[in-house]
């Protein structure tokens, strides 16, 4: 059972503010989903490597040569709030 205390912890890790109603809904829905996920645990996976990329892809390396695809101004222009060429954020220290 994913209780409300756990839901609040997970919400904080997820950085999502939630209403009490949402917390209660998620508590019952996540409990059901986790129980459902337990079906996966029943499979014997001794000595099996986890698969994270499903096709054999040869890693590709390129020279570390600087290139400009998009200008800094284009990137800054879509910021919700900026001060000159800096992003405006709450105090971080």
């Amino acid at each position: 059972m994913v209780d409300l205390k756990t839901i609040r912890k997970i919400a904080k890790l997820s950085m999502i503010e939630m209403s009490e109603n949402e917390e209660a809904d998620f508590s019952s829905q996540l409990s059901k989903a986790i129980e459902y996920f337990n079906q996966v645990s029943e499979v014997d996976t001794k000595n099996v490597d986890p698969m994270t990329t499903p096709t054999e892809i040869v890693p590709h390396y390129r020279e570390d040569v600087p290139a400009q695809v998009v200008s800094p101004e284009e990137i800054l222009a879509i910021a919700p709030e900026r001060t000159g060429n800096l992003y405006t954020v709450p105090p971080v220290v």
Binding site: S14, I16, L30, N38, T55, P59
Partner: protein, 489 residues
Amino acid sequence: MDLLRASIADIGQQLRKKQISSLEITQYFLQRIAAHNSKINAFVTSNDNAEREASDVDQKLARGELLGPLSGIPVGIKDMLCTKGIRTTAASHILKNFVPPYDATVVSRLKRSGAVILGKLNQDEFAMGSSNENSIFGATKNPWNLDFVPGGSSGGSAAAQASRLCAATIGTDTGGSIRQPASFCNVVGVKPTYGRVSRFGVIAYASSLDQAGPIASCVEDAALILEVISGFDQFDSTTSNQKVPEFSKNLNKNIKGLRIGLMKEYMMGGLHPDVEKTIALAVEDLKRMGCEIVEVSVPLTAQAVPMYYLIAASEASSNLSRYDGVKYGHRASFENLSKTSLEEFYMRTRGQGFGVEVKRRIMLGTYCLSSGYYDAYYKKACQVRRLMAEQFQNCFNSCDLILGPVSTAPAFRIGEKLSDPLSMYLNDVFTVSANLAGVPGLSIPYGISIDNLPIGIQLMANHFDEQKMLNVGYALQETSPMTWRIPNV
């Protein structure tokens, strides 16, 4: 010419013969959008420059410049792919006003081959859904019956294509999001092999599962678009450098001698009777064309849906951590930013920005990746995933392609499954496996239900064997009773 029933190659031929101009083609589809989109709600943003871009193609044509294979072809793009200068939202409040400063590789390749982008198509928020009901723009309607869902998450792409609001569309498929809506709307959808198509500029949902692909009117069009968008991309290290075949030129209806696998686990009951009939019809037609039908088995199909949701939610929770209200997208407003804590800033921004299904999956994924649970959930699912991929490889040792349903039943009513997320997830049982195993899948129209709703069938091939899958689709297109059938919108 009848643009409603013309393939891309047909349109291209007329264009080159100067029997129709690129501008006329674009205007034809823009008029269809103006006439029908309000009922279907497929297009959510239009490209204001579409007519000018179409005229540019005409000018190039007049100057005798070499034209790409999609010259003058009007296409619609799922709102999951970045389009330079055209708002891209993933149907989420958190990206409501996001205008990307660059194109996804898929989009730049379409443009390079001459395609005209008409606009952006509705979807489930961040591609999380199978019904296109989770969108800030409201639900997309199925053009065959407006009370029904078009499927999802590429519901806007499938509905737009079915009602011919454009000549072709692009969707994305993480667990069936191209194939299932294609099936519900009577159009052709291809999920390519993982690594075939670049994910650069495709808004990330679950990075080890996501692929973009075409949703088109016919197999020839899907093949042509696939060859344009495929291939190695320096901006996506998971793209394969395998040579891209000329899928459309290589199409071959002679499929005699191919072995088609029917997967035991897919035919074990629980299918809607009309879906069952549709599969049986395709099997008979394939036998008549000289194919051998063999039984294959992927026993881990029973665990596919929980495995898929566990992996997808985990990867989503990580991918969506980038939406922080700092560099782009929605930011909650605060009276005094300098007196706001960083945590409060992030939490409120994200709490306001994400819809309920997205929050649900982020929460689930965060739980599965959190300290003490990672090994038991995410790592475990990735181990089972390898076993399942091996079972698929075993199947392809004894057959060329796997045939099966796309969905357990035809489209359902809008609202019918909204209150029960788990029952919505269970519908994806036939599509998620291809993403987990990384294999390509094709959905083509093959039947219609007693309620007049389309039913597609699915073909799956081994890694990078799209040509074989397209060839069989091409042959089946000849025998399908649903080929080129268009709903009355």
